[in-house]
Symmetry: C2
């Protein structure tokens, strides 16, 4: 006897509907924007009853989070084995600049940017969803930077007393803020500059 609140019988779930809902949600967010995307609209486009959505998710934000996670997994598989590991050529500055340039490209891709923006915005105001978004998407990404910085510490290219988890924010957060809040333009030149400033510092050497 399953608890009344728990999700229904997962083994009988229609994979076909699940995928159709993901596709419809991502498409709608890209086409009409997040605020105008409705559960009814998703259901209609997916050829699915509303109840089927409400049976498995609690809100449209929930649907979009799962849809985006699914999209990310697909993208990761398509991109090859290691999902977005940061290269380690021994040249820290070059490695970081390369990854940030790839991120810049990603942020310009509407298919990726629209749902990502929507989820980030929802997370700002809805703490519970925000924490899930961060834990499942953002933090794993940040951890890759931390790993690369630790490697640089072992190589003596970064001071040993530096906390990698904070250090990475010096170049990641500015890019994130410019993108999210439109506080400035985004370009390769900009991210390259961030890396240079972060590694060398603002004070004269």
């Amino acid at each position: 006897m399953a608890s009344k609140e728990s999700t229904p019988d997962v083994s009988r779930r229609s994979e076909r509907s699940r995928r159709a809902i993901f596709d419809a949600a991502l498409a709608l967010v890209g086409e009409v924007g997040y605020p105008k995307t409705t559960v009814e609209g998703i259901a209609a486009r997916a050829g699915v009853g509303k109840q089927t959505i409400y049976r498995w998710w609690r809100s449209k934000a929930d649907v979009l989070l799962d849809a985006f996670l699914d999209l990310s997994e697909q993208a990761a598989e398509a991109a090859g084995q290691a999902p977005y590991a940061i290269p380690d050529t021994g040249d820290l500055a070059a490695d970081l600049k390369g990854v940030l340039r790839a991120t810049v490209d990603e942020l310009q891709d509407p298919a990726f940017a629209a749902p990502s923006r929507a989820l980030a915005a929802e997370g700002v105001v809805n703490e519970e969803l925000g924490r899930r978004f961060v834990a499942r998407l953002l933090l794993p990404q940040l951890e890759l930077y931390a790993d690369r910085l630790r490697s640089a510490q072992r190589a003596g290219q970064v001071r040993a007393d530096i906390d990698p988890r904070i250090a990475l924010e010096l170049f990641v957060s500015p890019l994130a803020q410019r993108w999210l809040q439109h506080t400035g333009p985004i370009s390769y030149e900009y991210t390259d500059t961030l890396v240079d400033y972060a590694l060398n510092g603002l004070a004269p050497r």
Copy 2:
């Protein structure tokens, strides 16, 4: 003959209603959250007809932006003459740490944080409003940091070839991102560390 689209006769506007709407909007956002704040709710609480709100603003986000700008001005006046100018004692690190600590306190204040969060979130997804939010609130703040950094450049404490507008992001953006996206805790120790890392760089000196 005024254009049909322009705002109605401003000289006949009720200041009483304007203030009541601001108070109600800020109170509701703080109490029930931004998504559950409605135009009808604001009108009812302010003791005002809905039309009076739609006559002067286009959306609840617009109302909240004006309400928050008003709140900021009041706070600035109450805090004294110069609105949040960054002190210049000659010790750049200490000055920055002081201001950032004050910002940390501000971000913990619910009366200030709730509407600020709501506007930031709306701005992420609504670019037009986002740009106004940034132009009228965020950029003026950032310019103060840029000014302080330019002063430090003249004093030889910051390299002359550094772009102050980008440099300030090294310590401002990480704090912003942690606060907005809940990517990590916020504390004096954290912001102090950011300033140290940014000024001295991650690489060994």
